[in-house]
């Protein structure tokens, strides 16, 4: 016995009670720990991601406004620098190159950004990881983005074979680094980074001027603003200044692709960090109440005894409150540790999708305070609700065992169904039906535990389902070939003549800004043949959309953002070439899953643009065996800028999904499993203490341990089975909330689809936890004393 001298007798009782119910207390604390872990984990991830970004942006001096044009005389940069509120400015040249990487059959895309030969640019600086700066006067020196370098094993000194403006060059890597404007990089056609196929190359300004015939000119400018400066006003002035030079319109940082993606991730995390812990804490509160009620029920006689001795309600309530607080505090502390561990782990995993030079792991002390307080309040509420009933009894009544419940009146009895069951089965069923509310609440708790798994990991199945639809029905091309610029329709023959190409279908993509009323949205117009079958927009029932002859078929998300419906006239500002402004009606809304675009007929697009038959690329079916020959040919075809294989996109997406989802599966099977285990273990232990005498009597009558265990384990099994459909129901509810409120719809709209696999996994987690709880309690049945029960009255 642990020495507890000097303590108030009630506190000694508290301590010994805790030791006595330690395994139940541990199972209960684990549930609190899970909720705390989730809260700390998600806030740690969110804060760390934000802090990591802030640190990188400050260190790399991330620009506030980005503008691109065709060819701007350098003096204009001076005019831009004089705009009110301007802090720093960096004019530069941004171009693309085709890279021929050893070991990679397909051509890779190089995104070339000019830097001063002598040192860091004023904005969007490079954080060098290894190597050094380019050497002034050496036109072939480049600094390579870290992700690309890692994908190809590049080190300083290595050559990179590139085609710049049709000229093959051998560039030399001097350094490897990262810049805040390329935290998340995607090439033109994908929405996931493909580090093998896309890299950023920083090259000397003079070398780029020479290579792209831009002497004394720039085509890209980034600026930072003084605090409090309205970026829209600056953008307007920059647009006006650059308009004569082929500007496609300046954009705020919030529209810059890397930043926008990162921001949408953070927004998603904010939603997740709010929804998930809230749901978990609500579940934990409920479960705690169920568990504590059961535990306190077994303390009923002791409560009566204490009252009989003259302890007041407050003293007794605070005694049990302390008991719960100890459990809660233990759970909270474990949750803190778990949350920090899981938070750092998830952050490290998460951060790999982004290119940050350093990870800033951040903990917010206030989160710990709030979490501890929430956990304590939740547990207190559970405890007080549980004790309240016992306190309401008179001491004499409380000291008597509870009046036996009214057996034999359940539906199962009244319908006569009970006659089909043997006596052990009857005992099992009547134990559950005598306190139907308690049984149902327990089942509800189990169901909520299981629903957590469904409601969080369904995203994997749903995303796979969506990808399957997208890439089996909507996009059926093998490769997409993109031309350097728009080409006459005849370019189709150029593509068709490439080795291995079987069928081609032309398309034209035009970057635009759509406006309706005061709402604007940047997107692309996709011109397709009316009878296109390789790539064709589908509705949610996977039926091909009839592309209207005169108007636009808009993604539902886009239509929602712009608040347009069929028949509304959209103003379209073209973000390339002459920057024409068009007006076209929205004629159909496509309830699609991936991307956000406006599709129209190719001829409609060309007519509206005032062009002849022009295309920017083709979708093609190719002979898989001749893919390498195709890639080799593309490397030697300067008219083609990019080739994207669909399989590779699907694989990359799949891989990213699998990586994320597998972590979530582990995490949430742990969360769900702990909750289910905690409830069932506690239910079983309480049931065992209530029915121990009965079970021991059965052993005396000649029932084996196994047969007696069936009565107890059967009750757990029935509760678990009842909870399964409940878990599916609540899982659907939670999934719906997550799909609706916690997912950023910009890139894709996750369908509200829960696969059978997800249900199956959830059932496995629930049943597995139940089996574990059952196994632990089953061992105790073996220790029931057969003699003690015979000598004592209930």
């Amino acid at each position: 016995m642990v020495t507890v001298r000097g303590l108030h007798p009630l506190d000694r009782k508290l301590w010994r009670d805790l030791v006595r119910i330690r395994s139940q207390a541990a199972a209960t604390a684990a549930i609190i720990a899970i909720a705390v872990t989730a809260l700390v984990m998600s806030t740690t991830l969110l804060l760390s991601l934000e802090e990591t970004r802030t640190a990188f942006y400050e260190r790399g001096r991330m620009a506030d406004v980005f503008a691109t044009a065709v060819r701007v005389p350098e003096r204009i940069a001076g005019e831009i620098a004089r705009i009110d509120g301007m802090r720093q400015i960096q004019s530069r040249i941004v171009e693309r190159a085709t890279l021929d990487m050893p070991g990679l059959a397909a051509p890779a895309s190089g995104h070339l950004v000019s830097i001063p030969e002598t040192g860091q640019p004023t904005l969007n600086r490079i954080v060098l990881r290894e190597g050094g700066w380019i050497t002034p006067g050496r036109a072939d020196d480049v600094i390579v983005s870290a992700a690309f370098a890692d994908a190809h094993g590049l080190v300083p000194g290595d050559p990179v074979f590139a085609t710049l403006d049709g000229v093959r060059r051998t560039l030399r890597v001097t350094g490897i680094g990262r810049s805040p404007e390329f935290v998340y990089t995607v090439s033109g056609s994908g929405f996931l980074p493909d580090d093998q196929r896309f890299g950023v190359l920083w090259m000397g300004r003079e070398a780029m001027e020479a290579a792209f015939d831009l002497d004394g000119a720039f085509n890209d400018i980034v600026v930072s603003l003084s605090p409090g400066t309205d970026s829209n006003r600056v953008i307007e002035v920059i647009d006006r200044l650059l308009d004569p030079y082929g500007s496609v319109g300046a954009i705020d940082r919030s529209d810059q692709s890397s930043h926008a993606f990162l921001q949408s991730e953070i927004d998603g995390l904010v939603a997740t960090a709010t929804v998930l812990p809230t749901v978990l804490i609500a579940i934990a509160a409920f479960v705690l109440n169920v568990i504590l009620t059961r535990i306190v029920d077994t303390e009923r006689e002791q409560i009566g005894l204490l009252k009989a001795f003259g302890y007041g309600n407050l003293a007794i309530a605070s005694h049990y409150w302390k008991l719960v607080m100890v459990i809660s505090l233990a759970g909270t502390l474990v949750g803190f540790a778990g949350g920090i561990w899981a938070g750092y782990g998830v952050t490290r995993l998460y951060i790999r999708f982004f290119e940050f030079p350093a990870l800033v792991l951040t903990l917010d002390p206030s989160v710990f305070l709030v979490t501890a307080a929430t956990a304590a309040a939740t547990a207190s509420l559970g405890a007080l609700m549980a004790v309240r009933r016992c306190l309401a009894l008179s001491p004499a009544e409380a000291m008597r065992p509870p009046a036996p419940g009214v057996y034999g009146r359940s539906v199962i009895d009244r319908l006569g169904l009970i006659r089909r069951v043997g006596q052990l089965g009857r005992v099992m069923i009547r134990q559950l039906t005598i306190k139907p509310a308690r049984s149902l609440l327990t089942a509800l708790g189990i169901a909520l535990g299981g629903s957590l798994y469904i409601g969080t990991t369904f995203t994997g199945g749903a995303a796979n389902w969506m990808l399957d639809i997208q890439f089996s029905f909507s996009e059926r091309q093998d490769v997409t070939l993109q031309f350097v610029d728009e080409r006459a329709y005849g370019a189709i023959d150029l593509a068709r003549a490439l080795p291995g190409v079987l069928t081609v279908e032309p398309f034209r993509i035009v970057p635009v800004e759509l406006s309706y009323g005061h709402r604007t949205e940047r997107t692309v117009l996709q011109g397709l043949l009316a009878d296109a079958h390789l790539v064709h927009p589908l509705d949610r029932q996977q039926r091909p959309i009839d592309i209207p002859p005169a108007g636009l078929a808009l993604s539902a998300h886009l239509a929602d953002t712009l608040e347009v419906g069929p028949g509304d006239l959209l103003t379209i500002r073209v973000l390339e070439g002459r920057q024409a402004t068009l007006t076209l009606p929205a004629t159909a809304v496509v309830d699609d899953y991936v991307g956000s675009m406006a599709t129209l007929r190719l001829e409609t697009l060309n007519r509206a643009m005032g062009d002849g038959p022009v295309i920017t690329g083709v979708y093609a079916l190719v002979d898989a065996d001749r893919l390498d020959a195709l890639f080799a040919a593309v490397k030697d075809t300067p008219q083609i800028s990019d080739v994207v294989e669909l399989d590779r996109t699907v694989e990359a997406t799949q891989e990213m999904l699998d990586r994320t989802i597998s972590v979530y599966r582990v995490l949430f099977s742990l969360f769900s499993g702990t909750i289910v285990f905690g409830i069932l273990y506690n239910a079983a232990r309480v049931t065992l203490s209530e029915q121990g005498r009965e079970l021991a009597s059965l052993r005396v009558l000649g029932f084996t341990k196994g047969e007696v265990a069936i009565i107890l384990l059967g009750q757990l099994a029935i509760l678990t089975v009842i909870a399964l459909p409940g878990a599916a129901l609540f899982g659907n509810l939670l999934a719906y909330v997550i799909v609706t409120y916690a997912m950023d719809p910009e890139l894709f709209r996750l369908p509200f689809v829960i696969t059978r696999g997800t249900y199956g996994e959830a059932a496995l987690v629930m049943v597995g936890s139940a089996v574990l709880a059952g196994w632990l309690v089953r061992r105790r049945i073996g220790t029931l004393s057969l003699i003690d029960v015979l000598k004592t009255r209930e």
Binding site: V427, E694, E707, G714
Partner: protein, 252 residues
């Protein structure tokens, strides 16, 4: 088996020789605890209990009678010594085989009835007949103890005496060779107790069941064929009674 759930059964102990005495004990010792806390409940008991007798075990609390009954019933192991049920040595059986022994051969009646509260009188009896080899119908067992009209009542709806008679019906329904009763009337008033004793006597007389009854009540001993007196873990006296009285003649 009910529910189709079949527990793994241990091999049945061989106790087929009805000519052998019901129980035989040789130098049975039972010690609880160790060192200073050691309690010697039985201190080397040897005795023989013939078949078919009504045996009363008398003695003060702690004299060792319950300990012996538990060992004879396969609920406990002696610390030393050997015990036979007919020609089967109980002390050689493991827990699983003792369970089968209890299931097949022994009926128990306890002071506090130990009925399953969620089962009716009929169901409490059926609980045992479902696992017995040659049971009588539960209704017949209840009729033997005069409870045929109360079959569908739950324990909570029955008086103490009625509950004890259900317990007796439950114990005899499997036609056990031995019936072990630990203070069966201890919680009952005199009138009810007599009815319970009548039921026990009827079972012993009509079914030939060897019946061992523990009691504090010396009067009850007058209905026994054999009376074994315990004191301090020893058998002090074994007396046979040539002319046992009827339970109705007993009062307390």
């Amino acid at each position: 088996m009910p529910l189709g759930l079949t527990a793994r059964r241990a091999a049945r102990p061989d106790a087929s020789d009805p000519a052998a005495p019901a129980f035989r004990c040789e130098e049975v010792t039972k010690t609880y605890g160790a060192g200073e806390a050691e309690v010697r409940a039985l201190r080397g008991i040897s005795l023989v209990i013939p078949n078919g007798e009504m045996v009363v075990l008398l003695g003060a609390s702690g004299s060792g009678k319950s300990t012996l009954l538990n060992i004879l019933g396969g609920l406990d192991h002696p610390t030393a010594g050997r015990v036979w049920f007919r020609n089967q040595e109980l002390t050689a059986l493991d827990d699983g085989r003792l369970t089968v022994y209890r299931r097949d051969h022994v009926g128990f009646v306890f002071q506090f009835y130990n009925l399953v509260p969620s089962l009716t009188a009929w169901e409490n009896v059926a609980l045992v007949t479902e696992i017995a080899r040659t049971p009588m119908p539960p209704a017949d067992a209840l009729a033997l103890v005069g409870l045929d009209a109360r079959q569908d009542h739950l324990p909570a709806q029955l008086s103490g005496g009625e509950q004890q008679r259900v317990a007796i019906a439950r114990a005899i329904a499997k036609r056990p060779e031995v019936l072990l009763c630990d203070e069966p009337t201890g919680a009952l008033d005199s009138k009810t107790g007599v009815r319970v004793l009548e039921a026990l006597a009827a079972v012993n007389r009509d079914l030939g069941t060897t019946t061992l009854v523990i009691t504090h009540n010396a009067d009850i001993a007058r209905m026994a064929d054999r009376v074994i007196r315990f004191a301090d873990g020893h058998v002090r006296e074994v007396a046979t009674n040539a002319d046992p009285i009827r339970p109705t003649e007993i009062t307390w």
